[in-house]
Subunit: 269 residues, 2 copies
């Protein structure tokens, strides 16, 4: 049951790519085939930029940005180049999300629909704000040569956790958005009458969950990390476990190993 061998990594990457691309195709078919298409006119066609840019930018692009270090053919590339791609894709996602928010606020204002009343809007705006903070902190910590390596290493588990939590939250918020749009957007037949559009967009929701599950699986397999990062992880896990049993702080673990970690992080820089 070799679930995390190199063949399985390639299969998982292909599956994630297939499901991600299919999700984007699905949201485009939804908008062009079932809805008003795309425009920037203050109407429903402007609103439609919201689901399109969220599925493309905040889900597909962010998903691939997360696992960009897991592409085996890049493992010989310079780590700094990979960091720029990782940050650049996240920046692209952020720009697309901001445009998608402008579209929905514009539409609401034209149609005299209140903004920010729903749980979808609350969680969505929180996700965007936290995403922008994650981006700024990530660039300051890992791209700019400002902070000492100790802080870079100490913050990495939080960076990874926050990134995966934000990605997961964005998919949850998208599912709430799909629910809202199908309830408000379908009348005669309604959502509860299961017209073709309802079934089609429900399937889009399933695809987004599957995409999220694949990205989370790929991102959390230790043996699929870049070989150099893997060694760093082993050192940390080793130290963490022993220290915790003996002395109980991760800080001491990190400071004990700061010279080792320093060498490794510098090398990967």
């Amino acid at each position: 049951m070799a679930m995390d061998g190199p063949k399985q990594l390639l299969m998982a990457l292909c599956a994630a790519a297939a499901v991600g691309v299919t999700s984007v195709i699905f949201v485009l078919i939804w908008v062009f085939n079932y809805k008003e298409g795309l425009a920037w006119d203050g109407g429903l066609a402007e609103f439609n930029w919201h689901p399109v840019l969220i599925v493309f930018g905040f889900i597909a692009v962010q998903g691939f940005a997360i696992i960009v270090y897991r592409l085996p053919w890049t493992w010989k590339w310079n780590k700094q180049v990979m960091k720029f791609i990782h940050a650049g894709l996240h920046l692209l996602a952020f720009i697309l999300v901001v445009i998608s928010l402008v579209a929905v606020f514009d539409f609401h204002n034209y149609a005299k629909i209140p903004n920010m009343y729903s749980l979808h809007s609350w969680l969505g705006l929180m996700a965007v704000i936290l995403f922008s903070q994650q981006l700024v902190i990530g660039v300051c910590l890992y791209l700019l040569p400002v902070l000492p390596v100790f802080w870079r290493a100490a913050f990495m588990p939080i960076h990874v956790y926050s990134g995966l939590l934000l990605f997961t939250s964005v998919i949850a918020v998208a599912l709430m958005g799909i629910t809202e749009k199908l309830i408000f957007g379908l009348s005669n037949p309604k959502y509860k009458d299961s017209p073709p559009e309802a079934i089609f967009v429900n399937v889009l929701g399933l695809l987004l969950v599957l995409f999220g599950a694949l990205i989370l699986w790929i991102a959390t397999r230790t043996s699929w990390k870049r070989p150099s990062d893997q060694n760093l992880h082993i050192l940390h896990t080793n130290g963490g476990g022993e220290d915790n049993t003996k002395r109980g702080t991760a800080l001491s673990q990190l400071s004990d190993q700061s010279d080792v970690a320093l060498g490794d992080v510098n090398k990967s820089d």
Copy 2:
């Protein structure tokens, strides 16, 4: 920045307990103060068992079932006892979820509302079915002394991943359910007019996300594992990393170390 020391574990456990209990109080206030209370009459008061049992059973109980191995005062207890508590709490969660599903199907049938048309219902039923499979597979693999230790160890990363993914999905599905209920249940003033109930239940949604974030943080800190499990993890990660660099399969790692892992798993049994 000792984010994963023992003091931080206690703080995180207290925070999770506080947010979990508050969420259950919130759903009860929603149902009794803003809604029709609880009854088993085919009407809205029967429907209300659905959110109450989902928040209590499928979110709070499942959340604590997941992190039951992270309670430091149980680290001296027999591992087998902890496994029974882990499985027993999951079984309790499953029973409560089944009752909550009966309540909602009953209500729909009385009110002639179609079943299973929404993305919420699709993902929710999938989560319940996969949860029951996870429970059966978990009991067969880790409680019954049937399968060889090799399989127990090989399946553990999938067991952990599936469990956390299901827990996360359940929260996402609950947020969609809250969205549906606030849209359908509020009229004059509507959801978009932000009456007190809308604000209150939006806050419940935020609490559920916060609870999920805390449980995921606690569950994924390696240094917060039971000391015996931690040693097992270190062995696996070590082997996985080295093997992956050299030979590239996790299977070989597991078979190489099966005697070591066997000793450790047996000890913890």
